[in-house]
Symmetry: C2
Subunit: 106 residues, 2 copies
DNA sequence: TAAATATGCAACTAAATGGTTGCTTATTTA
DNA sequence: TAAATAAGCAACCATTTAGTTGCATATTTA
């Protein structure tokens, strides 16, 4: 299907998913799907779909407890995005760019 | 349509576009569309479409010179992604998380 | 000026996305 | 045990996406 990194970026490229992820990060604890859904102007199934995408990117972990499914955010995959960005930092930051050139020439 | 930040994330969430962007960053100079297209296993029009998405996210700047259109990469919008990630760093890095807690309690 | 080159534009396609509704199933609770 | 609650699953829909082909246009170059 899609490589892990692409899944992560696709997951966070949707504003609603970023909102869901952010809300889950802030509460720090795990929340049942219904409780998450009530906070969004969308059907439960819509939210469930977004949660599935986040889960697939490992940005959310879901585990069942009785009839409820508790969702908790996991920021770790974002490290990969950060790592990917690091290479480009020298190109957006001119002073770092100069440093890069300096190191190349020495 | 879409907010600027979402456009940036959507632009880099496609592997082909990341490749195009990366190639452009590496050459540092501006390249005509045809020259970019020959390096990808895709029609010129396909590449053009991707370039348009990148241009829309301001990750690529295009300017005409005669019959050619020169494309150059611009990494600056990636700063915004970096900034967005900064908040979540405390949640993926446990030591920072502890620091955060420590600061909260003091 | 005629041929070649670089590109744009439009139409089309298949698949993915973001969302819905309707119904079923499993677990609680009264 | 019956009603209420939490959720899954499937089908559907409109829009976007990633890509194509075909053709027109503008600029070079021979």
């Amino acid at each position: 299907m899609q490589d892990k990194f692409t899944k992560i970026l696709k997951a966070i490229s949707d504003p609603t998913r970023r909102e869901i992820f952010h809300a889950l990060i802030l509460v720090t604890s795990a929340l049942p799907i219904n409780q998450i859904a009530t906070n969004f102007n969308m059907t439960r199934q819509g939210v469930t779909k977004h949660l599935k995408v986040l889960e697939n990117a490992n940005l959310v972990t879901i585990n069942s407890q009785g009839r409820e499914r508790y969702c908790i955010a996991n920021a770790k995959p974002l490290k990969e995005v950060n790592k990917w960005l690091q290479f480009y930092e020298q190109f957006w930051d001119d002073s770092l760019n100069n440093l890069g050139k300096y190191l190349d020439e020495s």
